[in-house]
C-alpha cells in the first residue's frame, strides 16, 4: 500500500489552471522531491494534499484512505499529514514549547505533561533544547523553521510535506534546516519535498519529479533526472539552474 496516491489531480485559480492532471504515487519511507520553476504548481500540489486547497478533479489517497471523497473529516486527515511552509508561520504569541504542544493537546487530546515531554524530546533532538521558552520573534529564521518542522512532527504524522522550507532563509541558515530533514529521511519518514535546492534534492531524494505546466513531466531517480534528463523542458530548466549557480 502506498503512503500517498494522487490520480488526475486538477486545480485552477479562476482561469489559471495550476494543476492539469497530476498522477503520483509515494511509497512508505520514500522521499520524493518536487522540482520545477516558480509557478509550476509545486506548492499548490502540497496544499491540495493537505486539503488546504480544495481540488477541482481527481483523487487523493493517503495510507489507503481516499481523502477527497465527500463528507470526509478534514481535521482527521490533516492530523495524519504534517506540512511545513516557506514562511514558517509559527504562532508569535506563544513560546516555542507552546507552539509545539498546542496541536497534540488540542487535537490529539494529550495531557499537558505528555505533550510537553514529547515536545522537549523533539526540540532536544534537533538542537533547540535551550529555546523552549523563547518566543518566535527572538529566533533566527533557521531556528524558526526547525521549530516549525518539530511542530509538525509532534503530531506523529505518517507523511510530511515540505513546501520550499529553505526559500525564505538567509543562505548561511539553510544548512541547519537541511540537516534536520536529512535526519528525518534517515529515520524513515515519508516525505514530499518541494525545493529549489537541487544539490540537496539530488542527495536526499529517492525520486525526483519535475513539474512543468501543471503536470509531472518527468520523474525518476535523482541521478537520472539530473545527469540525463529526457525531456527538453527538464534540460532547459536544469541548465538555467546551473547557469544561476544553484547547482
Amino acid at each position: 500500500m502506498s503512503a500517498l496516491l494522487l490520480e488526475g489531480l486538477r486545480k485552477s485559480f479562476g482561469r489559471n489552471q495550476v494543476l492539469r492532471g497530476v498522477d503520483l504515487e509515494v511509497e512508505e519511507h520514500e522521499v520524493v522531491c518536487l522540482i520545477g520553476a516558480s509557478g509550476s504548481g509545486k506548492s499548490t500540489l502540497l496544499r491540495c494534499v493537505n486539503l488546504i486547497e480544495p481540488i477541482d478533479a481527481g483523487r487523493i489517497v493517503v495510507g489507503g484512505e481516499e481523502v477527497t471523497r465527500r463528507g470526509i473529516d478534514v481535521n482527521r486527515v490533516r492530523r495524519r499529514i504534517g506540512i511545513v511552509f516557506q514562511a514558517f508561520n509559527l504562532f508569535p504569541h506563544m513560546s516555542v514549547l507552546r507552539n509545539v504542544t498546542l496541536a497534540p493537546q488540542a487535537v490529539l487530546g494529550r495531557s499537558r505533561a505528555e505533550a510537553e515531554a514529547r515536545a522537549r524530546e523533539l526540540l532536544g533532538r534537533f538542537g533547540l533544547a535551550d529555546k523552549t521558552s523563547d518566543y518566535p520573534d527572538r529566533l533566527s529564521g533557521g531556528q524558526q523553521q526547525r521549530v516549525a518542522i518539530v511542530r509538525a512532527l509532534a503530531m506523529d504524522p505518517e507523511l510530511m510535506l515540505l513546501d520550499e522550507v529553505t526559500s525564505a532563509l538567509d543562505p548561511e541558515l539553510v544548512a541547519e534546516v537541511l540537516e534536520l530533514i536529512r535526519e528525518l529521511a534517515a529515520g524513515g519518514m515519508t516525505m514530499v519535498i518541494a525545493t529549489h535546492e537541487m544539490a540537496f534534492a539530488r542527495d536526499i531524494a529517492d525520486r525526483v519529479c519535475f513539474l512543468d505546466g501543471g503536470v509531472i513531466l518527468e520523474q525518476g531517480p535523482p541521478d537520472a533526472i539530473f545527469t540525463a534528463p529526457r525531456e527538453p523542458r527538464t534540460q532547459q530548466f536544469l541548465e538555467r539552474i546551473v547557469a544561476a549557480g544553484r547547482m
Binding site: N75, P92, V107, S133, P136
Partner: protein, 289 residues
C-alpha cells in the same frame, strides 16, 4: 508573507517600546528640558487666564474651594454608581462584542443570515445617538408594565450602553481579527485544529492583543457616557452635581464631577500602555527561564 527581516526585533523597536510618555529618550538632559518647557508653558497659561477681564467672576462661579469641599463627598458617593454601571457594562460588552465579531467573520454562504444580522446590528446602534437609546429603553421598556421587566433606571441604562458600545467594540475586534494574516489560520488548520480551535488559540489571542489601545479608547468613551444615564433620573455623579449646582447657583460641583471622571480614565490609559508594553517585551525577550 513576512520575510526574516521584519520578524526579528530590531533595535529601533526596542527604543520605541521604552517610552510611554516620550520622556527618557534624550537622557537626563532631555528630561530637564521637558520639565522646564512644561513649567514655562503652564505658567504662561495660568497668567493668561487669571488676567482675563472676566476671571474674578469665573473664579467665584467655577473654582469655589468651599463649594468643592462640601459637595465632593456626595458627588464621590454618586460617582460609585457610574463606576458600577461602567464595570458591569464593560464586562458584558467585552464578551458580547467578541461574540459578534466572531460571528461576522464566519465564512461561507451558510452563515450569511448571521453575518447580515450582525452587520445590521452594528450599523444601527452605531448610527443612533446613545442618549436616544438610553431614553427610549429607560422610559419605554418599564412603560410596558410587564411584571418580568425590571423598572430600575440603572438596569436599562446599562442595557442601553451595552447595546451601543457592543456595536463599536465588535468593529474594533473585527479589525483585529482581520489583521491576523490568513497564513496563521492556515498553519493552525494544517495541524488538524478545527476552525473554532484555530480561532480560539491562534487568531483571537493575536487579534485582541493588537486592539487593546483602540479598545481602551472605546472604554474611556463608555466611562464618560455613564453620565448619560442621569437623563433617566439615576443619581450618579452628573445628576448629583446638577442637584448641588441648582441648590447653590455655583458651578464648582461640575468641576468636581469632571475631576472624578478624569481621575479614573488616566490610570486606565497608563494601564493600557503598560499592557501593550509588557506584551511587546515578552515577545522580544527570551521569555521566562
Amino acid at each position: 508573507m513576512a520575510s526574516e527581516g521584519d520578524r526579528r526585533a530590531g533595535p529601533e523597536v526596542a527604543a520605541r517600546s521604552s517610552k510611554v510618555l516620550g520622556l527618557g529618550a534624550g537622557g537626563p538632559r532631555g528630561v530637564a528640558i521637558a520639565v522646564a518647557s512644561t513649567v514655562v508653558f503652564f505658567a504662561l497659561l495660568v497668567v493668561a487666564v487669571t488676567h482675563a477681564p472676566g476671571w474674578p467672576e469665573v473664579h467665584r462661579a467655577f473654582f469655589s474651594w468651599a463649594q468643592f469641599r462640601t459637595t465632593l463627598p456626595e458627588i464621590s458617593r454618586a460617582f460609585l454608581l457610574n463606576v458600577k454601571i461602567f464595570c458591569i457594562a464593560e464586562a458584558l460588552i467585552l464578551v458580547v462584542a467578541l461574540l459578534l465579531a466572531v460571528i461576522r467573520s464566519l465564512p461561507g454562504p451558510v452563515f450569511f443570515p448571521l453575518r447580515a444580522l450582525a452587520i445590521a446590528y452594528a450599523d444601527f446602534f452605531r448610527g443612533v445617538p446613545t442618549i436616544l437609546v438610553i431614553v427610549l429603553l429607560g422610559f419605554g421598556a418599564p412603560g410596558l408594565g410587564l411584571k418580568s421587566v425590571p423598572t430600575s433606571t440603572t438596569f436599562w441604562g446599562i442595557v442601553a450602553l451595552v447595546l451601543v458600545y457592543t456595536a463599536y467594540v465588535s468593529e474594533v475586534y473585527r479589525a483585529g481579527i482581520e489583521s491576523v494574516h490568513p497564513s496563521q489560520e492556515a498553519a493552525a488548520r494544517s495541524l488538524g485544529l478545527t476552525r473554532w480551535q484555530a480561532t480560539r488559540y491562534v487568531v483571537l489571542p493575536q487579534a485582541v492583543r493588537r486592539v487593546i489601545p483602540p479598545l481602551l479608547n472605546d472604554f474611556i468613551g463608555l466611562q464618560k457616557d455613564t453620565a448619560l444615564v442621569s437623563t433617566l433620573g439615576a443619581i450618579e455623579a452628573l445628576n448629583q452635581a446638577q442637584i448641588d449646582v441648582n441648590a447653590s447657583f455655583n458651578f464648582t460641583p461640575y468641576l468636581a464631577a469632571a475631576l472624578l471622571f478624569v481621575a479614573i480614565t488616566i490610570p486606565l490609559a497608563r494601564f493600557t500602555d503598560w499592557l501593550v508594553l509588557r506584551d511587546r517585551r515578552k515577545r522580544q525577550a527570551g521569555g521566562v527561564r
